[in-house]
Amino acid sequence: MHSRNRPRLSLLAGALATWLTLTAGPVAADDRVFDVVAPFEIGGLDPAISGFIFQRMQITETLLEADAKGQPLPALAERWSLSDDGKQWTLAIRQGVKFHDGSDLTAAVAAHALEAARKKPGMLRDAPITAISATGNEVVITLSKPFKPLAALLAHSSTNILASAAYDADDNVKQIIATGPYHLTLLEPPQRLAAERFEGYWGTKPSIEKTTYLGAGRGETRSLMAESGGAELVFQLDPPSIARLQRNPSVQVLMGPVPRVLVLAANAGNGATAPVEVRQALSLAINREGITAAVLRAPGTGATQMFAGSVPAWHDASLAPLKYDPQAARDLLTGQGWKPGADGILEKDGQRLQLKLLTYSDRPELPLIATALQAQLREVGVDVEVAVTNASAIPAAHNDGTLQLALYGRNYALVPDPLLTLMADFGNGGAEWGPLGWNNPQFDQTLSKLLASDDPAEQQQLRNKLMTLVQNDLPLIPIAWYRQSIAVSKQIEGAAIDPFERTFGLSNMRWRP
């Protein structure tokens, strides 16, 4: 009688077998694969879009590199020199460098890659470049005016050098053919790629042979992967998970300062925050230690000025630190004519001191900090409405002038020299990720002097002056200095945090014997 069941059972077994076949991909039997997990998704092939992922995975390289202090180092360009008027850069291309497809790196190929990068939104487009050409073994970049930070630009991921065969006729990237110590073996946007050691690499070959990258947006997912041994390196841990991972015997948690600063931008040209006293009052009302200890779980990272001591060139130890003093904040606001209304919110000429704060959730700590700020500012009588939106709402509101307050984490080392980002953000009255409506001619004059200066002592003095101006005017109110955190498997040695977030450091790591 059970024979009647057989067809049904075999149907079920068949269905299950189909599912197994459908789901069974290549089984990762080799456990000596170095798996990296980070929050970034692979948006596209172009260096301007996801070049930073290929660069961090050491698949692509740039003409120049940067040392721990952000000073330029030779990479695909062996040497570089500047003409006397500072308008012409000559970079000698390293000989004997092979692309992953076996072709040679030449000056012409490098110049073409830079030309292609210049056509797309990115760092190179903002530089005063008039021409890029190849002469013999050298790439010659001609500028309309001297531009010292070009070396830092040529280390940025948007200027990754790809082979000519990587581009189509319109200079769109159709595949990644680069020169790095790893070559791409699998690319599944938006989340996954795999790479293997490139045996024809020009430099020291790395010890780790195989690696994969996975983009996982949720912090919980990444922490659990670190905890379960599902990944050898997990980038950017969410603060609540750090303590738990530190107790895990098979994982080491590394933390290090990065030049990313959490800032509150206030409209300095219009509205209630236009007077400098109001911005100073907002700054005095913020309990930075409370926020860094409770939300970021990183006590001691509250910003006393724009940059931390880990960015020595831009940190001025003699500057009077930003303080927490709610009573002084109230006094300053009273001095500006703001008087408490019935519900404790300050009023002036029938107007309530009400400000809209824009922030975004790509960095999960921002909405939390925004609500902490809301509570702290309420203590001094400022009513803040928090709007968590898309990151692009901030440049959009900056552009149409409606921005009142914005909270964001700004990376000042988009290129290894913070000067470039500072210049773009703060120069000429400020840009989207910088001050709004802030006009301080002294700042622009000092900046021009700095760009022209060759004397390190004078440069330092000018940088200090710039930071003093920002500290006094507070067009951006620094709140905290970020620390990058990674979790690395204890089977690995040689892991370190790159302060400029340019590499995961694969080539310096080894499997522990």
């Binding site: 089984v27 879009i49 939104p121 949720r218 599902g230 989207e432």
Partner: protein, 311 residues
Amino acid sequence: MMRLLGFRLLQAVMVAVLIGALTFLLMSLLPGDAAYRIAAGRYGYDMVNSAAAEAVRAELGLDQPVLWRFTAWIGDLLSLDLGNSLVTGRPVLDMVAHELGSSVRLAVGAVLLSFLIGPPIGIFAGLRPGGMLDRGLLLLSTVTRAIPHFVLGVILVLIFSVWLMVLPSAGHGSFTHTILPTLTLALGLAAVSSRVARDATVAVASSAYFAFGRLKGLSGTRVFMRHGLRNIGVPVVTYLGVQLVYLIEGVVVVETLFAWPGIGHGLVHAIVQRDVPMVQGTALAMGLMFVLLNTAVDLLNHLIDPRRRTA
């Protein structure tokens, strides 16, 4: 049967047009400047600025009238061209096919697994209503169903990945990676299908035809196989149609938690980045999948229940 398929085909066409029109309309009604959103999606939050946004606007022709862009989309759809993603520039069809494949594997696996778990337990519980198994199952299925996917997924990861260390906690690419996300979805489905199977079993076991089968001399097993299973199967399969909504909603959450490159994950990202062709493509694929699965449920019922064939 032909009438059923014809009706479903008509339904699929209407779903396609409605989804296309609605997503287009809703996406253009959303506040905020699309060029900025797309630029943020492309270049990341550190690099988005008005220069990038203006470049995007010029490249994509976003200043053209909405009606014109919609007509162009319908025209392209008729030639089976879903356009290119505004963010990555790759063909939507390729991206959706890649994502849909991953999601279908997850969803089909979850449905099959839930059939292995839910109905057998439900039937055993239903054969002894009020017994230990029945009462235990009521509690277990209620708790399982009440826990959101996200929490259920994390609990499974904590047990199997962190504590036992036998399965990977997230990612994709190998069979072992599929087990936890599939199980997360399957447990929720099984919680309901076990209850449906249990109630159907109770109803069938107390029915007159079941008693008659015993009366005419069939053994307990035989009467259950012949007259029981088929009748229990109908509500279980029918209810699966209702559960599809739960499945599709679950796919979105589970894919995000397990870093699975599926269509739910793709849809959420496309909406955030204002990638209209991708939103249309993914929503279209999900809508059509819904019609397709409902058709499959109908056909399965057709097969199980001979009474409907004459109707």
